[in-house]
Structure formats: structure tokens, C-alpha cells
């Protein structure tokens, strides 16, 4: 089944279970979700509610036990590993709570990582990296290594890395979870700008109501299902 052009993310009847020894743990049950192109969606819920698992399924980092995940018309849960990796490289930008930068690489080389998978020349890659770092306001710290950057700056590098390939979808897992309020606000402002000014579709997992307030829509998860209201 193909989604309409307006719907970028189409999650249908998705279930995800994990096995721990003989025990089967249901993380997501009968999950249905549609995300239109250009939306900034926040997913909220308590720890263990399945937010990150859902984000991983949308990003092709994991596969559902049942159901389908279709992104921009591609049924990604059926793609072989190699094709799925290529799809991620082309369509998904990831932003993590702990930035996940490679400590041995400078800011610009961290941002360049996804471009290594493209056919761009070195000069073209450099140009793209410069643009991405300009967008996040870090063009003056390109040669700095992560250990010499503040948390907010590291997250900006993480966002630059996520947008450098101009992906279809930006997935953010608690992007402000490790930052103080001021740095968090800057990051949220940046994500909002990417959504509003650059038309990026963003799905963001967060615990923070302050962060979700920046989104255009907020959905709540509880025990692996969507909840109509914010869980207690």
C-alpha cells in the first residue's frame, strides 16, 4: 500500500516485540501513524513507552515484528540490509541525545561522514559541510574536536551532520536531553527554523514539554500505544 503524496511517514499496524530469555516483551502494539510532509511532530511519553523504538522503525534502524513502515512511498521494512543502509544514507538525518560524534574527528569531518557514502568529490563535500555548519552557526569552529566544544555546540555539529545530505526526514531522539535550558532553546530554535524555513519534516522524541511546545503536533505514547492524553 502506498501513502498519499502529502503523507511522508506511514506506519500501519506495527508491532515490535523483543525476547529476553523466554520472556516476550511487547514494546509497540497496533501502532498506526501518519506524518505529513513538512510536519514537526513531537513524540512524548514516559521511559519505556516505545518512543525511541518507534523512531528507530521510522528511521530504518530497526524492523517491526509485524506491520509496515512506508516512507515517501518506500516500504522500508521490506528492504534488504544493504538497500536499507543506502536508503538511510539518502533519506534520514539523525540527531541524538548524546550527540554521538566521533571524538577522533574534527567538527567538519564529523559532518562530512554521511557524505563519504556519496559520489561527491572532496571539494564538493567540503562545500556541503561548510553550508551545513553555516546553517547551524558553527562555521568558526570547523577544526575543533568534540572535546573542545560545549554540549550545545556538539549538538549543533550533530544537527549539521544530520542535514548535510539534505535528507527527506529528520529524526531527533531527545535532542535537548543533555543540554541546559539555554543551549536547549537554541537547539530547538534551530530545529524549528529547519522545519519552517527549510521545510524539513521532523520527528522528535522528547520528555520535555518545553521542547514539544515547539512542535506543530504532539503525540503521547504509553505502554507501546498512542494515548489520547498525556499519561500521568
Amino acid at each position: 500500500m502506498h501513502s498519499s503524496v502529502e503523507t511522508l511517514v506511514h506506519v500501519e499496524n506495527v508491532e515490535k516485540t523483543f525476547r529476553r530469555g523466554s520472556e516476550e516483551i511487547h514494546v509497540l502494539s497496533e501502532m498506526n501513524l501518519e506524518v505529513p510532509t513538512g510536519e514537526f511532530l513531537a513524540l512524548m511519553g514516559p521511559s519505556g513507552s516505545g518512543k525511541t523504538t518507534l523512531l528507530n522503525l521510522i528511521g530504518g534502524l530497526d524492523r517491526p515484528t509485524r506491520g509496515s513502515v512506508t516512507i515517501a512511498g518506500d516500504r522500508i521494512d521490506k528492504l534488504p540490509d544493504r538497500q536499507l543502509a543506502a536508503w538511510r544514507a539518502r533519506h534520514v538525518g539523525l540527531v541524538f541525545q548524546f550527540y554521538n560524534l566521533l571524538p577522533v574527528l574534527s567538527a567538519e569531518r564529523n559532518v562530512e561522514l554521511p557524505l563519504l557514502l556519496t559520489h561527491l568529490s572532496k571539494a564538493e563535500r567540503r562545500e556541503h559541510v561548510k553550508t551545513a555548519l553555516d546553517v547551524v552557526g558553527l562555521s568558526h569552529r570547523t577544526r575543533h574536536f568534540p572535546r573542545t566544544l560545549s554540549g550545545g555546540e556538539q549538538q549543533r555539529v550533530g544537527i549539521a551532520r544530520a542535514i548535510v545530505t539534505d535528507p527527506t526526514l529528520l529524526l531527533c531522539d531527545e535532542p535537548t536531553g543533555d543540554l541546559d535550558r539555554r543551549s536547549g532553546d537554541e537547539i530547538l530554535g534551530l530545529l524549528q527554523a529547519l522545519n519552517r524555513e527549510h521545510g524539513k519534516t521532523i520527528v522528535m522524541v522528547t520528555h520535555d514539554p518545553h521542547a514539544s511546545a515547539r512542535a506543530t503536533r504532539t503525540l503521547y505514547l504509553d505502554k507501546g500505544r498512542f494515548s489520547a492524553e498525556k499519561p500521568e
Partner: protein
Amino acid sequence: MKYVSLVWSNLRRKRLRTGLTVLSIFIAFVLFGLLCTIKEAFTAGVTLAGADRLISRHKVSLIMTLPESYARRMARIPGVASAVHLTWFNGIYQDEPKNFFGSFPVSDPTAYFDLYPEFLLPTEQEEAWLKTRTGAVVGRSLADRFHWKIGDRVPLKSPIWPRAAEEAWEFDIVGIFDGANRATDTSGFYFRYDYFDEARANGKGQVGWFVVRADDPDRADEIARAVDAEFANSPYETKTEPEGAFAQGFVQQIGDIGAILMAILSAVFFTILLIAGNTMAQAVRERTMELGLLKALGFTNGLVLALVLAESCLIATAGGFAGLAVAWLATVGGSPIPSVLPVFFLPAKYVAMGAVLVFALGVVTGILPALEAMRLRIATALRRQG
């Protein structure tokens, strides 16, 4: 090429650990190169033995002598092209035990150099040797060792064969021969048997062994049996065998050099395998999150496997090739103990074998961590922080 700097950056992450691993591999390959050189030095005679050359010696032991007259009887045996005898002289130069080298009286200089075409002696020098009763021809490495040149008079003493006149033996250098290739032993000192036999105080008419040339190398074994049959049931029975087998037996008087060296190298490489393998396994375990990130960004399983293998191969290459280079440089100057190991160089076949070992070490030490990295589940890896 665009991934090289990523691999290089990862290797620089723990510089001390990477450096020590490279150093251990370096030492292993220096050892490999030197031990192979020593093995070659011991077995050069076996490798270079002529297929048509037989060595006939006393059946009981090499140190027991045979009658000189056997040469004529051997020459009459069908299939024998020529027979030349030599004797172990044990010459010492300038009364210094360390100035010891292989020295031999030769019954027929012309026939001897025909037997050993790998010894390159100019014709005019061979003619001079035939004309000079006290003449001697020496190998290039021996001449270089003592700075001898043609025209020099060289006094030697032999603890086995004193002169009747109780004086030192004196020889005139009339020729210097070169080797046809690097593996040819040019540390020998050859002189005329007639001068030796006339002047020695004892053992006249007795010689050490015979070099017999078979006119057909394919019949070498048959001719060896015929030679031994000729002297069977005499007081001086012979044991005749191809030169290669003789050289092998000579080397094995010391021990099975190949097996000893192989045992040492196996122990060294097994240890290095554990050290380098542990380093790589640790490096991958420490970077679980980062490897998961690369996969999340779109790096395929195969690419992640290749990146980890490239790291282990780079470590092995840096240490291994540096070790081989140093081993080669150490042998370029020649033998540190020419009297014991006259042929001393690292042959190209061992350099090639070392290169194969370098890559094998890189692959073997990296393959398990690389497979672990390849099989890593992204979601699991990204949950691990720090």
C-alpha cells in the same frame, strides 16, 4: 581512498596502544627475517646442490679418510664423468682461531671448477693456478674478509695437517673467484693436492671425500649405488649420495635447523596473533556506539567490516614491513660470523613470504572483531553510550 583518513584517525585514538602493537609486530618480523637468513645460511648448500653431483665419503664417518687411489677406480665406473677429491684442511690464518675458514686441497683444479660452474674463476687465473704449485684460489667474500689480493703470500696453520718441516703452510694467491649468484658460497680456500700431499707430515695418500659427477643426473642414485658396490667389503667402504642429501646430513649434525626455527617463529607469531587480536577486539568493543552510528548513517555491514579489517591490516603492515626492512638492512652488510655462516642474506622468497604473512596477520587478527562489528545491531549499539 576517502576512508583512509577515517581509518588513520581511529588508529591514532590510542596512540600508545597502537604504537606498542606495531612495535611487537615489528620485532616479530625482524626476528622472522633474521631467522630466515640464518636458515638460508645453513641450508644454502642443500638448495644449491647440483643434481649431477654426488658426494662419496667413508661409510662410517666424514672424518675418516679414503685412499686417494679411489679417484681412478671411480672414474672407470660407467656413468661417472669425473671424480675429484678434497680434504678438510682446517686452515687458520695468523694463528688466530677466529680466523678460521673452509680450506681444501683439490686433486684436479680444472675438473673441480668444471664441477662447480657457480664458481666463476677467470681462465688466466685458473691457468696460473695450474702453473703454481703453491697457488691457491679463494672466494671473493674470503678475500674481502682478509683484504687479500692476487700475488699475496698467505701463511696458514692446520691443527690436523702439520707440515713435515713443522713450518706454517704458505700459499700464493693466484685467483679470486666470484659466485654466480648471492647464494653461492665464496668463502672457500682451495689449493693444490700435490703440494699438500708432498709436504704433510702424516696421512699421505689419504683424502677426505670425493665429488663425483654423473653423466646423467637421472641416473645419480644408480651411480651412487655402483660406487658403493665398487668398494664394498674393502677396508674403506664408501657412502655415496647426492650432494643435496650430503649437505642436508651435514647441517643436521647441528640439529634440524628448519624445525627449530619454525618452532621459534610459530611461538613468536602465535604470541603476536594474541596481542594484535586482543588490541583489535578491544578497539572494536570500545567503539560499539561509534560503529552503530556509522551504520545508522548508512554505512553498510560490508563497509564496516572492511574499515575494521583495514585498521588491523594497517597495523600489521606498518610493523611487518618495517621489521622486514630492518632485517634486510641488517643482512646487507654480510655475515657477522663468516667462518660459520659464509652465505648470509635475506632471499627474496622469504621477503615475499613475510609480505604474505603480514597480510595474513592483519586479516586473522582483524576478522573476528570485524565480523562482530558487521553483525552489530544499530539500535543495540546506539543504546550504549560512552
